[in-house]
């Protein structure tokens, strides 16, 4: 615990979370309504569907210094737009690969399905991601 507290004092990561309007953004709202606390490091960007996420949004986020990016959407089979989340899943595989080539640890990018009823899951995701990215340290592109 002591060590964790020390790390926190040294480095506060900035993490972006893309949330789809119908499931994961509503899940984030539910975390709030339920008062599930989580670290303040995440900035949420709402899009209508995870399928809207152009890979360049994610790559630009890393280029501009994001320490981590979370992509969240509806569970498989529950997509409001039928199959947008599957399109995102395909691009996600590509993005992971691309990050490796750019010298960014692929663990900085995470895809998670969160329903409108999973406030606790959303809060847990933010807690875990913040902890994980703290351990990874700052985005290596920031140093260059």
């Amino acid at each position: 615990m002591m060590q964790e507290a020390k790390v926190e004092a040294e480095f506060e990561p900035t993490i972006l979370a893309f949330c789809c309007n119908w499931c994961s953004y509503a899940g984030a709202d539910l975390a709030g309504t339920s008062r599930f606390e989580y670290p303040t490091n995440v900035r949420i960007i709402r899009v209508m569907c995870s399928g809207r996420l152009d890979p360049t949004f994610v790559l630009s986020a890393f280029r501009w210094g994001a320490d981590g990016v979370l992509i969240t959407g509806c569970h498989p089979g529950d997509c409001h737009y039928v199959q947008g989340n599957y399109m995102m899943e395909r691009r996600f595989a590509f993005l992971k690969e691309a990050l490796t080539h750019l010298g960014i640890e692929p663990e900085r990018l995470k895809l998670e399905w969160i329903s409108a009823g999973e406030g606790e899951k959303f809060a847990a995701l933010i807690r875990d991601a913040t902890q994980r990215i703290k351990q990874l340290g700052p985005n290596p592109l920031k140093a260059t």
Partner: protein, 592 residues
Amino acid sequence: MGKEEPRIGVFVCYCGVNIGGVVNVPDVVKYAKTLPNVSYSEGNIYTCSEAGLASLKKAIKEHSLNRVIVASCTPRTHEPLFRSACREAGLNHYLFEMANIREQCSWVHAHRQEKATKKAKDIVRMAVARATWLEPHDEPELEIKDTSLVVGGGIAGMTAALTLADQGFKTYLVEKEPELGGNLRGLHKLYPTMQDTRDILEPIVKSVKANKLIEVLTSTLVSDVKGYVGNFKVTLSSNNEKKDVEVGTIIVACGAKNYTPPKGLYQYGVFPNIMTQLELDALLREEKIKKPPERVVMIQCVGARKGEIRAVDLAGFPKSDTARLLAKILKAKKEEGWPYCSKICCMNAIKNAILVKDKFPQTDVIILYGDVRVYKEYEDFYSMARESQVKFIKHIEEVTPEIAQEPEGKLTVTAYDALSGQELRLPCDWVVLSTPLIPHKEEVLLARMLKIPISSDGFLMEAHVKLRPVDTQTDGIFLAGAGSGPKDVPESIVSAKAAAARAGTLMANKKMRTEALTSVVDEDKCIGCGLCEEICTYGAHYLEDAKSHTIAALCRGCGACAAECPRRAISMQHFTDEQVLAMVKAALTEES
């Protein structure tokens, strides 16, 4: 960016102490003023109150604001209210933006006030960056044809058709079977009134057939759906004959079916005298019982609420993308069983138990259950069964009861009593299995044609489980009956009338406006590769003269095409690349 310089107004809400108790609102208001393009900012105790809205409208006029940001709660609840305030002040509502500093800030960071204030500033900065790029949009107006199509001729479909006809709308009622009636045709009596199903069904079928506004098409399937709300072009097929109809709205009342266990599950189909509740129903109706049974054991939740299903027919699904994901769901069902509660099986078992007792008072009826779910007035129905000596035994559900064959056509059910933990050996004549209601296989194809998502339980998904229970994500298409999940007769009727009212409202208005959340193609950039046409779930893109075009009425605004377009020729209105990237950049740049 619009032609005029952006003049952004930022309204930061205290929400009483909800935000104000955690976030330093005056500090955020002050900070907002320093951001580019912000001409005005103020704090409100409740921006959504009458006073708050009046102040917002006044500021729009006094400061000639052409972009408005309210930093308060979630757009999912309050965006419509603030949008209408903007409209009232003469501002196009697509120039409004919300910054969620309550659900996604003060409520989750109650003990980190300083950090929460910093985060609130960041959220406001991101909203300002996005607002700079917002553009006004007109909402296209569509004509709505005053004819409807109801798919499914069960109790829900017939009720929906009659309700529409009562409102004066011509309605096509399509049924895949040769006769109207759906599941009710196979049922003997209905709980809790014990009315004969035929007494309920026949008058309804008659009035449907007699109604001049309803055109009944039996042995007919929907084979293709084109078009959009107000202007659907539907192809119906019957014995290789095709018929095209044009309708303004569609009500899907495709129902559900009773699950038949695969051979061998609880020895079903292996030993005689093991039947489903539906088969017992038929036996009771046809009065074919030669010898009264000494004992009947009913087993609840067979293949439901736990994993024991072994057979779901996957044949017949096309191998496209959607079908593959649906096949995944069904495969999971195959391995895990139908996980949900069908909610009608308890009452159905109680009804049949009472019917057996009425007919053969000497017969011992035992219901083996994990949970009995009798709600509302059905509690009395349960008490009635107990009074007629029907025995309810709670057994350990995790241990599947074993069924053995004895001489002279007798059976023995072995289960474990949940209260004593002791083994129960129940010699009996019949075993009756209560099985769940499950979706029809054809529903999958229908869902694909109508672009309705399917829930993880395999049923058609409503637009919002609480707030829009009979709407679908596709405008102009509504849900009635058990196709969206198990329902009994009164619930099916309620949903059918609700769906008919929703469809009727649209058709009575003759016109509707659709949201401007649609994609737009830049023809100069488009190379006509056709990828957008290929990936669009809704058929909203088509190629003409080697250029892609959007049919705005079909576009649902997911933005997948904008993300996939290799030439960045497609722009998703209100969620453009510039708008999203401006937020990304603002989130990562302290001073923008």
